[in-house]
Symmetry: D2
Subunit: 436 residues, 4 copies
């Protein structure tokens, strides 16, 4: 059975007029000593690609999907087939999923787990045969009505226990499929109103759950990198993992900082009032850069639109921070992006991923050129040069005091400052993107 009517998408180069070809993403092309494939480690997001139906708060599903003729476990199996066909045809090495994406929830936890086992076994076979890998898995602890008040931050212990059980299973599934990472996204971990909320207890409980997860992963020998994905709001009025800094604060407070890194999501960054590259930089600067969820928001809209990333400024600046941080390590670039509701054809899934992959490959090349040709590095080094010797070196070395600095200031007029040259740098950025 074939779901996608296209042949395997090939790299044809920038001159190609073929919409169903890569013009920028050339997996074996070497950039700064690694292949594009090694740099980018693309993953398809199961939920948007195989589960989403195009519904929104004002409209029913629109997506035309080949697997929708099946029901229940049969549909889940069809999706597995479609997933591996898709990964193969798009030449995507990884995929990612929530537990509920891959198998139907049963009447009971036992039945749900049994359904998962069926699909996980099937996936394992497909993975072995295809060489495709699981970038990360996670447990969806926000869709089911039981999580209406949260999961690890629920006001009810029964729900907390259920979440813990679901998490346990998800860790086992991750181990079984050899996931490189395990992601925590706190879908309902937050509050609707402080009027009825004990934020302190909720956060303590969430930390307890994370500690249990760390312990259990160790116990079963699941060596995936643990990631938390920040988001500031939506669905909750306030989400606890607001942004990178808030999440790091939480991890530090509860002694979890050595067990977790961050999965930075582009549209979540902008909803928090940050650029994508800012959030990557904050994570990297704190040794916490784990993985990326690649998409883009519409900054004139106030919700998570999860559009496929096509803005080359954003992909270039994101890849620049990634390269400066030494790469994504065990992480990767997962397309947590959904085709627009009006892009309902199967072909749109293909075209959208080509758009995203080409845009990131393009951004990678532009970022690499910025580094290779020292387009920014020297400018930055020059700006901070005064910290290399004299009083500046004393400051950096921790040898200065308010008294010593006052003495310096009393005796030395402030040097003539240099312009930040932002306008020039911005034009350069366009020129670099164009030139690769």
């Amino acid at each position: 059975m074939t779901y996608f009517s296209v042949d395997r998408i090939q790299y044809e180069g920038v001159a190609s007029g073929n919409a169903f070809a890569f013009k920028r993403y050339n997996p074996s092309e070497v950039v700064l000593g690694k292949t594009m494939e090694e740099h980018l480690r693309f993953a398809a997001a199961y939920w948007h690609t195989f589960n989403a139906n195009g519904s929104d708060p004002f409209g029913a599903g629109t997506m035309v999907r080949g697997w929708d003729k099946y029901d229940g476990l049969d549909r889940s199996k069809a999706r597995v087939e479609a997933n591996f066909e898709f990964l193969e045809k798009l030449n995507i090495p990884f995929f990612c999923f929530h537990d509920v994406d891959i198998a139907p929830e049963g009447e009971s936890l036992r039945e749900t787990n049994k359904n998962l086992d069926v699909i996980v076994a099937m996936m394992k076979d497909y993975m072995r045969d295809s060489g495709k890998k699981l970038l990360w898995n996670t447990a969806n602890m926000f869709t089911n009505p039981r999580y209406v008040h949260g999961a690890g931050t629920s006001c009810h212990a029964d729900v907390y226990a259920y979440a813990a059980a679901q998490l346990k299973k998800a860790l086992e599934v991750g181990k079984e499929l050899n996931a490189e990472n395990y992601v925590f996204w706190g879908g309902r971990e937050g509050y609707e109103t402080l009027l009825n909320t004990d934020m302190s207890l909720e956060l303590d409980n969430l930390a307890r759950l994370y500690h249990m997860a760390v312990d259990y992963a160790k116990e079963i020998g699941f060596h995936a990198q643990f990631l938390i994905e920040p988001k500031p709001k939506e669905p909750m009025k306030h989400q606890y993992d607001f942004d990178a800094a808030t999440t790091i604060m939480f991890l530090q407070k509860y002694g979890l900082q050595d067990h977790f890194k961050l999965n930075i999501e582009a549209n979540h960054a902008t909803l928090a009032g940050h650029t994508f590259e800012h959030e990557i930089a904050v994570a990297a600067m704190n040794g916490m850069l784990g993985s990326l969820d690649a998409n883009q928001g519409d900054l004139l809209l106030g919700w998570d639109t999860d559009e496929f990333p096509t803005d080359l400024y954003a992909t270039t600046l994101a890849m620049l921070e990634v390269l400066k941080a030494g790469g994504l390590g065990r992480g990767g670039i997962n397309f947590d992006a959904k085709v627009r509701r009006a892009s309902f054809h199967m072909d749109d899934l293909v075209l959208a991923h080509i758009a995203g992959m080409d845009s990131f490959a393009w951004g990678l090349k532009a970022a690499a050129k910025i580094i290779e040709e020292n387009i920014l590095e020297e400018i930055v080094a020059e700006r901070y040069r005064s910290f290399n010797d004299g009083i500046g070196a004393d400051i950096v070395a921790g040898k200065a005091t308010l008294q010593s600095l006052e003495q310096y200031a009393l005796n030395n007029p402030v040097a003539r400052l240099q312009s930040g040259r932002q306008e020039l740098l911005r034009l350069k950025l366009s020129e670099v993107i164009f030139s690769v």
Copy 2:
């Protein structure tokens, strides 16, 4: 010389029709065991009250001010007189200032410091005579062009040294005037574009400056509480102390958490995408609630409008978090609020402070009633009751594991959940505010 044509503002109660009277703020009225004056610890903000002229990016100053007929140090002295007259007439016990608010900058650091000494000596006399106190002082390290690239995060060591010298003097001024707190607001500590910024070096340097300040205060025996005031953006595209959580993360990372608390500003909270009460709660929950800058923003506008606080929902919810946290301690409520550009009369300063003080007194009474009459506490306790015994108590005690919780979940259906009742609670909030 008298600057304000009104008599001392008296408490006349809610029935009063006199615009120049308090209708809610009755300083000696006891609420939850303390007087209103002890709870609220109001402060006037020197900069908005005595320095601001009503200019905005599109218009010149509009304010009609009695001290504007003087120049230089004479104007500074007139402002001191006006300040103490104002505190007396409004019955405000505290005031707050930046160094540059109180004395003119000279041609050199030495001259600037000399100007400061003149005014500080004069203030000290007035403070002794009036009994008025300094809630906090700070150094303005963002207005002067030398700080165009930041102060403690400047790209130039000379500027850093100058900032350190300015900070040193400000600490000495604080000690001389017996300030209860010392505030750091990072006006230009942030970046305009990542393209030319070494964020990691800048933050390391900022932490170094804070450590020097801690050391120097200790050395000179200045025992004020140190506060950082978060703000997410404006003037910089990104401000490093984005919000309470980001600031706490920074303090934890650099081992500064025991030396600092937070000064939470209402309009900065909303610019960061939070409510005022959220930021207070986050600070309190982390033992970091220091003081409040009271104002309100216009949520339909995207910049810091610093309006006088008159929204009773906001003042009530803020005071509720303050009361739950055990009060403001050495902190207080500083009106970091400016009269609108069109409120240019001297009387408007008086009326605006009455509005703010009455609104906070009102909020205090409403919050106290919520606590005294258990209007929310029981509802909250009931919501989390399942954590008091059984599996819930195990979770809270740290005795649960993923395995034990899975066992529980497999054997116990999730209890029927209760509604969050948000609509009911919101109506109750209006009713409480009305009833006090």
Copy 3:
């Protein structure tokens, strides 16, 4: 069969401690010469009350609803029963619906219309027996996948024709049930990207459809007031009826201004960057105030949250504009508001409507007091007094020219201006609200 376990909600006054009672809404109480019931003309929104299940983009439905045990037309009939029981118990005189709210869509347009006929006949009986009335009806031309590219602005003529047919039936239903108004909300009338959009053709087509509706209503003798409900964005990236001004511009351009008024929605106003009262004032000022959709948004969230209105500042300022405009005429106040996803009990529907009704009754009384006691009117009159005679009167009379005004300006210094007194007015507003 009874769906709501409460008795009829009674007015018990502000002293009542009964959550299931009105404390402010006293239908027969006379305010400014009319009863509260006549002023407010409350309506229940069928979709939120009887159709919504609490799902959101991240979660499944949570609502516990008595009619969910039925299917198809039976469920629709149960909802009719529930609706009239609800209106009776809450003492709400009106209701509102989309066609798809009240009857299931069939396999064909014919079948859909037949389903509608069944329910409409049933409703007609219930309306006759209960005295309840239809404030407005409308056609849902945005949920069905056929409307993915719009309805009256679809890029496909077949869809446009289908929409026209649906609209025709909805007008007939309105006539049959004697609707006071008919509302057009352009759910998908907008665009996702200009790259593939012919905005000019789409708007011309939309105007054509409105003209057809005007003609057909006239033809069948349906004398309802036609209303357009502005919204700036969501679900579409850009919605054509962005706000009141945009909609009036459209109506003027296409010669439709005499046939339509506006249905102003609170949360749509704030999403457009306006206050609710601003949009009401703009409509009123242009003779276009038709009706209100009452709810409130969360200004820190960027999507349409449709919360029950409980902010008394907003309800007071809205009612003030309504009173100044001479009332709502044939319009009313429809609760286009949904209980929070965590307020899933049947009781929450009751409590939420009590909260909304009490909040609007409260706002009405506060607004009436502002008018009766001349709290603002005199201040405003005084501000503009200079336009009552002399050069000001000439300006208003259209007798001034640039030359005559220049002569005046050359010979007369600008008078000393008065303060806008905004801080005083805001405190007064709180005092009025919490005094009624």
Copy 4:
């Protein structure tokens, strides 16, 4: 006297590594039958280039400017020299100013006008000698404290008269300098709070002022195109000319639509929640496209940042709408953009204009390619093809009725719809931009 140390900036093509050269803007290059110079009609903004000092609400001026050593009229004269040197060196054909930009305000209206006369005479000479032209002028009726409550919408008739006199003089200046356009930007035409505002009277008065201006221009034979520049907020809480649609509504209502077109500003568009291209398209669709103020905002910041335009997506999409509308006619592209506060060197003015001009030239070429190669046109035509014949043609011809469309819908199933293909189009957009 020379103010700018650079030589005349030359076009050197994309291969140039010279920061002080155009790489895209080649004035004589023909694009779609016109030279770039004819298409773009660039103008320098006097206020940002020669008056702005880099101050912001939190900081003093930083700009290092050669003319600052002069005072009063001498400084104004120096600025005139600098302006024409700058236009020459940057090869910019037009300039724009507010009255207060070019000459100091005097003690009286008479003196102010006399100052203006001096400078206008000087400018006229320079214009004749240089061939540079005035794209537009305007009167600044928002900076002076007298306009604190508005100008044409002031609550005081004296201020209104003064504004009229200022406007009269500005029209005379425009005539004297042969301005191609005259712009109205309603800096303080709006309100701070509805509580003290008579919006209806204010808007009637504003319309009266516009009518007087139309009459006076006719009387003196000033044939410039009149333009209104929309802005939604800032400095006022609400600005009356919120966006293009609101402004057109106002013009239609007061019978002014034949006398005015719009000056669309990029950052004002985004502050209103629109894209720049949307506002251009709305203006064009209504026959109201007049001129452009080119800059860009930072969508993560909530105020008017007026950055130099460097985002090629924005410049391309803007120029695409301009080309589709048949060009800018008598309008042009004015850089209403300011160098960042940290870009304080004179060179930054040069570099920033190069960045802006190159970015718009680039956008022009990309837009031209989209049109020449039919990259979007065919896709759009195909989308709406069903309106070319049959029932679709009937609709467009105004021959359809609800009845005829219902008949059609009953007898014809809706055709299979096509995808909007947004992801494909977005990638194409990147490819086009970075191919020219």
